[in-house]
């Protein structure tokens, strides 16, 4: 009987270990939790296909995540909540928040380009300067419109 019990114990441990391995290694679950850090708000005219959980980067390094995306019916803007890691405390208040695309067809993410102000953004503050996502169709439309205006050589 003890041998059976040892085998069953090992089986239960291995099974639970496999599930933990999957949860930690293969999914977006992070034990540190997303409750730490502070929230900044960015308003965009158009967020393209930005989604919740998209990374927030500064100089290309991920420093936070998008936690919520809402539509503001008064200003017709998208309100994007960014949760910034707690150790990044010194984001100047004239920082530029832009939506970029990783690669040609990749995920969209929020990129922050620091300003020169010595005032720092606090929890709940919003970005003064934002730049919307580039919509491929709009760009092509503008390009066609422009080239139609130019006189033919």
């Amino acid at each position: 009987m003890p041998r059976i019990e040892i085998a069953v114990g090992a089986f239960l441990a291995a099974g639970l270990l496999a599930l933990f391995f999957l949860a930690l290694q293969a999914t977006n679950l992070r034990l540190s939790g997303s409750t730490s850090g502070y929230t900044l708000i960015a308003r965009f005219e158009n967020i393209g296909s930005l989604r919740v959980r998209a990374p927030v980067t500064m100089a290309g390094v991920p420093i936070g995540r998008v936690t919520d995306i809402r539509f503001d019916p008064n200003t017709y803007e998208a309100v994007v909540e960014l949760r910034i890691d707690p150790e990044i405390r010194t984001i100047p208040d004239d920082t530029f928040a832009s939506i970029y695309t990783a690669g040609l067809l990749g995920e969209q993410y929020v990129g922050l380009s620091p300003g020169a102000s010595d005032q720092y953004l606090q929890d709940g503050d919003s970005f003064a300067n934002t730049q919307s996502a580039l919509i491929l169709e709009q760009m092509i439309g503008q390009f066609l419109f422009k080239s139609a205006e130019e006189p033919l050589p």
């Binding site: 239960l12 291995a14 496999a18 391995f21 290694q25 977006n28």
Partner: protein, 259 residues
């Protein structure tokens, strides 16, 4: 014409009577679940029979399924130069679908058929009747530990299957085909959701475990007490389990995706 109608009626009544016995058995098992705590060693013995002895086949199958997924996925993804998404492809297919489904099929073949044969033989050799003679409820004593052993073992086995599949996919994708290891894990961690994907997979395998073990126990308990009857019951277990798992998988996936 009248003979045809009579035949149809007999079939229909038999079908519904069987369905009723099936659900009564499940209720009886659930009602007797308190027995688990009094005979805990029985549960451990069944976990050994259903779980531990399936570990080898489940992990080995998972390993090879992961390897072949990686190989096939790579062929398609290179056409779009999206090899970096290989990890995502392997993990999503394993965790969401292949893990629960293939594990359930394997357990149905490996443990379900054995359970049916065991219980069918117990019935044929009148061991169940002997238990009843001794005022021991055979359902509580024989079926309950097997039922919960299977129910508990299934998600753990599915987890093992997926974990070994990931390792196999990693070996083939990264070591053999040269996909970047960081991208392999990174894409996976970015896009696979712990609740929407992993937990729904565990939920699925719990349901599959319930259905597979339920079918196996019922077919054994309801088998005709002859050697031929036990053989037929075993076949029916495997066929019905496979069908039930595959059909349920579609229904559950549709429900979980909220279509």
């Amino acid at each position: 014409m009248r003979r045809f109608l009579a035949q149809l009626g007999r079939r229909g009544i038999a079908f519904f009577a069987r369905l009723g016995r099936r659900f009564l058995l499940l209720l009886h098992i659930l009602a007797g679940s308190g027995e688990l705590f009094r005979h805990f060693d029985q549960l451990i013995r069944q976990l050994h029979g259903i779980g531990v002895r399936s570990v080898a086949i489940v992990s080995l199958s998972g390993f090879f399924v992961g390897m072949v997924l990686s190989l096939q996925g790579y062929q398609v993804l290179t056409q779009f130069s999206a090899e970096e998404s290989l990890g995502l492809l392997v993990a999503a297919s394993l965790v969401r679908e292949l893990g629960p489904v293939v594990t359930a099929l394997l357990v149905a073949g490996r443990a379900g058929s054995a359970l049916t044969a065991e219980i069918g033989l117990m019935k044929t050799t009148e061991q169940l009747a002997a238990l009843e003679m001794m005022a021991v409820d055979p359902i509580r004593r024989v079926l309950v530990p097997r039922f919960f052993g299977g129910l508990l073992a299934m998600p753990l086995l599915a987890g093992l299957f997926s974990a070994f599949g990931l390792l196999g996919g990693y070996l083939v994708g990264v070591d053999l085909l040269g996909v970047d290891a960081g991208a392999f894990w990174g894409q996976m961690q970015q896009r696979i959701d712990c609740y929407a994907d992993l937990c729904s997979g565990i939920f699925k395998s719990l349901i599959f475990g319930l259905v597979v073990i339920w079918i196996a126990l019922f077919e054994g308990y309801d088998s005709r007490p002859t050697s031929e009857g036990v053989g037929r019951a075993t076949t029916r277990t495997v066929v019905q389990s496979a069908l039930a798992v595959l059909c349920l998988d579609f229904v559950l996936t549709a429900l979980l995706l909220g279509v």
